[in-house]
Symmetry: C2
Subunit: 191 residues, 2 copies
């Protein structure tokens, strides 16, 4: 979202009037911007487990719009001694960054009056498993680099289209977490 | 994985002999630990987009074990001016951390000879949307905190079960990325 709008009409599947009305509502009442997202996970067998995502808190109340839960399996592939019943957990990080940048881009384009025709992206993440295998103290556990490559087509100059991606990066929640990190607290109850 | 094993037999659905054989193979030939994971994303409409995950490079070759692609939709809910056709991108980060810690826990338990009966976790992430809405320069875009709560039941003392979670945290690729951040490079081709 941006202050420099040219046309507050629906575009790119984005309800631009509602987008700006929502932003104005938050501006007038900043506490409705406090959100809490949640997931629950159940171990199945080996590296195979399943996450359920449904409720969240936001805009001052529990959300009730999701009548069915979303469920996602994760696993390791055979080469990493798993059963391949889902992607690896680290691959979901690549999904998250692509999805976040793309959603932001569509909103920003709509707010700027730019009609998009195509947005595609590919993401690569390089990881040296010597870290997680405990075989090198010098190698980190996580990705050493993630690269996102966008192809964007729309009714704007190449510079304007590239600027949409840049503004989306500047406002991306996932980009912030992946590049700057965040506090993660873990606790355990045993029975 | 750990050096202090008590029984190298299959357990918890983990093929422990293969797990240690894999680790030994990597030790003898460290370049096979270089992996590259990938995802591709296509914008659909508004904040709705879809990621495909299939191929990856690792153990010295392109993986061919996944005969079908994995596909995941992401979207914003109605309260965030989306159509709710998938979870938000930031919720997939919660899935990723739960899945990574759980997979590691199962491996470590098996390597230590601990039979697990139940592993469940819930994850919460707090986020103030004043950041991504561009309404406060003091508020970050991403989660200010993520909390993971495990319930673990198995044939070991509470201290031993809690130690499994702690060792999984120490070797988790997703925990490393989420807490320490990583380099994310974005480029754009326009047409």
């Amino acid at each position: 979202m941006t202050e420099t709008t040219t046309a507050r009409t629906p575009r790119n599947g984005v309800d631009v009037p509602t987008l700006f009305a929502t932003r104005d509502a938050v501006k007038a009442n900043p506490e409705i911007a406090d959100f809490q997202f949640r997931a629950s996970n159940t171990w199945i067998s080996g590296t195979h487990n399943r996450t359920t995502i449904q409720g969240f808190y936001g805009a001052g109340q529990e959300d009730s719009s999701r009548t069915e839960p979303f469920q996602y399996d994760a696993d390791h592939p055979a080469v990493l001694v798993g059963t391949g019943k889902g992607p690896t957990p680290v691959e979901f990080l690549l999904h998250a960054i692509a999805a976040c940048l793309t959603a932001g881009l569509a909103n920003i384009a709509a707010a700027r009056g730019v009609t998009l025709h195509r947005v595609e992206s590919t993401v690569e993440g390089d990881i040296d498993l010597l870290g997680i295998l405990g075989l090198s103290a010098e190698v980190r556990n996580g990705y050493r680099q993630i690269r996102v490559r966008f192809v964007v087509e729309g009714d704007a100059t190449p510079e304007e289209l590239a600027a949409l991606v840049e503004q989306s990066r500047r406002r991306s929640a996932v980009y912030d977490v992946l590049t700057n990190g965040t506090d993660v607290v873990i606790d355990v109850a045993t029975a």
